[in-house]
Symmetry: C2
Subunit: 163 residues, 2 copies
């Protein structure tokens, strides 16, 4: 057997480490669990385009358990891709960084909100204050408008080759 061909542990200089931490905090604020956020940040900063489980554990200082669940969350939300190299057993992970992911989430969020608001309008009925109802209706109209337009923007961007 080849004498432990361990991929060279990722080397980051201090500013790069700080960046991983910064984007980690940022992603946490937008809903990622801490371990997922750091993993994703590291994948974006690493000179290597893909890293192994081992690399992540060694570089981030998280335990294997944390890395394992962190990776699972990233996969569930389609943030990373994974592959194996021929002849190797371990898996390598790569950040998936499409422009759509943010927009799609935003649209899904708005769509769910829109449904809720409509239900709310119906439940308020006619006896309730009309001003709030009117505001709700305006919000619904705007959200519909926004969804259509965002779809158009995405299409335009795709068509443009990538800008």
């Amino acid at each position: 057997m080849v004498p432990n061909q361990t991929s060279p542990t990722v080397k980051l200089d201090p500013p790069q480490q700080e960046w991983v931490e910064a984007i980690g905090l940022f992603l946490e604020r937008s809903g990622f669990p801490p371990s997922s956020a750091r993993i994703y940040g590291l994948l974006l900063m690493s000179a290597e385009p893909e890293l192994s489980f081992e690399d992540l554990v060694a570089t981030l200082g998280f335990g294997k358990a944390a890395v394992s669940t962190g990776l699972r969350r990233l996969q569930e939300t389609n943030r990373i891709s994974e592959r194996t190299r021929p002849g190797e057993r371990r898996r390598y992970f790569r950040a998936r960084l499409g422009p759509d992911i943010g927009v799609d989430r935003f649209r899904a969020f708005n769509s769910a909100l829109c449904d809720l608001l409509e239900k709310g309008i119906a439940l308020r009925g006619s006896r309730a204050d009309t001003e709030i109802t009117a505001d709700l209706e305006a919000s619904v109209r705007f959200l519909r408008f926004l969804d259509v337009e965002l779809g158009g923007l995405q299409a335009r961007w795709e068509a443009n080759g990538d800008g």
Copy 2:
């Protein structure tokens, strides 16, 4: 003194209560603390357009402390407005429901992300894998494009009177 002219405690039928709970959970998932989320939901569903502190405490079943901090968070993020009625000491709260709040947050988020990504690109330098760098650059371009276009959409919506 007028014999305790307490505003009639809000009356919600069960489907309305469920709706408040549903939108409460939804808002929680988007970052509101539970008490803020329920307060906001109740303000949207109540037949009265504005409610007092008292009303909120009595209807939601939260303690005064929770309502107090919940209101503070809503004020900080500009989700509610507050006023007093002449001759009364208590304050009345109303949900603020502009179309912009969601979009503005989204744009602010994207703007911050964009800054971070650019910093990241710079820190990766030229020795790092170019594919990831290219993805990052494409993301930055898209985010800029998106921000400009969203600004345009908002302007168009405003101009249209409200759709």
